[in-house]
């Protein structure tokens, strides 16, 4: 690509890994949208967009990786909780492996000056 040089920014990086991030946020605990968003931000992904999370949740649900259930709340509207199903867990496992391999490669590339030269 000659026309544009992409400076690495978190938003761009997030696009590729948001699925994995959301799956991971649901690994230990079910959660509703805002729950998941808070978990991601607590983990340091401050740039995660509000709408991106909801969009991703819908796509993962459509893809058959999540189940949902509704929990009525005393104050305010009901909340839709998301949970990983078997397919979701399998996806989380394989995606994690891909990410780890990729991240290690990138780490090596960046941190070992000998490789780049």
């Amino acid at each position: 690509m000659h026309s544009t040089l992409h400076r690495v920014d978190t938003t761009q990086l997030l696009k590729g890994v948001l699925d994995l991030a959301v799956l991971a946020a649901l690994r230990d605990d079910d959660g509703y949208g805002y729950d998941i968003l808070r978990r991601l931000r607590a983990a340091g992904l401050d740039d995660v967009g509000d709408a991106s999370v909801y969009g991703t949740l819908r796509r993962l649900f459509q893809g058959g990786f999540l189940t949902t259930y509704v929990v009525p709340s005393e104050e305010g509207p009901h909340r839709k909780y998301y949970a990983l199903n078997a397919a979701g867990r399998a996806q989380l496992g394989s995606s994690s492996k891909v990410w780890c391999t990729f991240a290690q490669s990138m780490d090596r590339l960046i941190e070992e000056p000998g490789v780049a030269s």
Partner: protein, 305 residues
């Protein structure tokens, strides 16, 4: 409805509007979680939704990208999914027909042929506009009027000049333009065959007088004349109007051949006895009454004998 609810509603409808091109169930699905989420955000009292989330349109764009639905396709498709399906089928059918008909008439596509005819349309639409203009203003066909030809040629030049740029009309103007053209063509077609001016009919007199039902001759003083025979240059009796309108039994069934005498019917031109006292004077004291003096201005003829 509380202020919070109103704010949520407003933001939500903004998001929905930006998703309007998607099928309704997908829209519902996408915004399902949002009211609860917005309520929670507002519960934190950290500013209005627009400040925290950005404009609804941007929010909607992010939502659909993340959901893998692709960018917005345009505002036009607001129909339910069923209609969209139907429209797709109709479009496919039209494409097939385009190719099939094209093959028959010797072009890759029928629309290729139609495109070749566009300059003809540019001239034709100039004719339609001229025709409609002359019909409405002068009630006559521009073809029989030198001015009509001048106008027609000028409009044709203009029309052909702007012809190539008309396809670049903004999208919203295209529909109305096509509609207007269709209506104009229909009106022109309806108007032109019924109006054939100065065309000699088989009877030898002009169609221009086809509306005439009777003839009221007056002398130069404006006195109505009666029992007038009219003959053409060959000495043939002329029949204007509805010659049998007021024919008597004798004239109808008598042995003599019937030659109409004008006026066919006795009485004033525009029967209005109250408005016209029965005097038989000239319509005006002017010394130069001309035959062209409008008969309707003439006083009613003297009481018929």
């Amino acid at each position: 409805m509380s202020a919070v609810d109103v704010e949520i509603d407003q933001y939500l409808s903004g998001v929905r509007a930006a998703l309007a091109d998607l099928p309704t169930e997908v829209q519902d699905d996408l915004v399902d979680d949002l009211p609860a989420h917005f309520a929670e955000l507002l519960d934190e009292h950290r500013g209005p939704l627009v400040e925290r989330l950005g404009p609804p349109e941007v929010y909607a764009a992010e939502l659909r990208t993340a959901a893998g639905l692709g960018a917005r396709t345009g505002t036009r498709r607001r129909w339910p999914a069923v209609n969209e399906d139907l429209a797709d089928k109709a479009a496919a059918l039209a494409r097939t027909a385009d190719l099939k008909i094209g093959a028959v008439i010797g072009y890759p596509k029928a629309t290729d042929f139609v495109r070749l005819l566009r300059p003809a349309w540019w001239v034709f639409r100039a004719y339609i506009v001229t025709l409609l203009f002359f019909e409405v203003t002068l009630h006559e066909n521009p073809i029989y009027n030198p001015v009509g030809w001048v106008v027609l040629i000028a409009l044709a030049l203009l029309s052909v000049r702007i012809g190539p740029i008309t396809p670049r009309l903004v999208r919203w103007a295209r529909g109305p333009a096509v509609l207007a053209a269709a209506v104009a063509v229909l009106v022109a077609l309806a108007a032109s065959p019924g109006r054939t001016y100065y065309q000699p009919s088989s009877d030898g007199y002009s169609d221009r007088w086809s509306q005439v039902t009777d003839v009221y001759p007056y002398d130069k003083n404006g006195n109505p004349l009666s029992d007038i025979y009219l003959y053409d240059q060959n000495g043939t009796p002329m029949e204007f109007g509805d010659a049998w309108r007021c024919a008597t039994e004798d004239q109808r069934y008598g042995s003599q051949p019937y030659i109409p005498r004008y006026p066919l019917c006795k009485g004033p031109v525009m029967a209005s006895p109250s408005a016209s006292p029965s005097t038989s004077t000239s319509p005006s004291p002017s010394s130069s009454p001309s035959p062209s003096a409008s008969p309707s201005l003439a006083p009613s003829p003297s009481p018929s004998k």
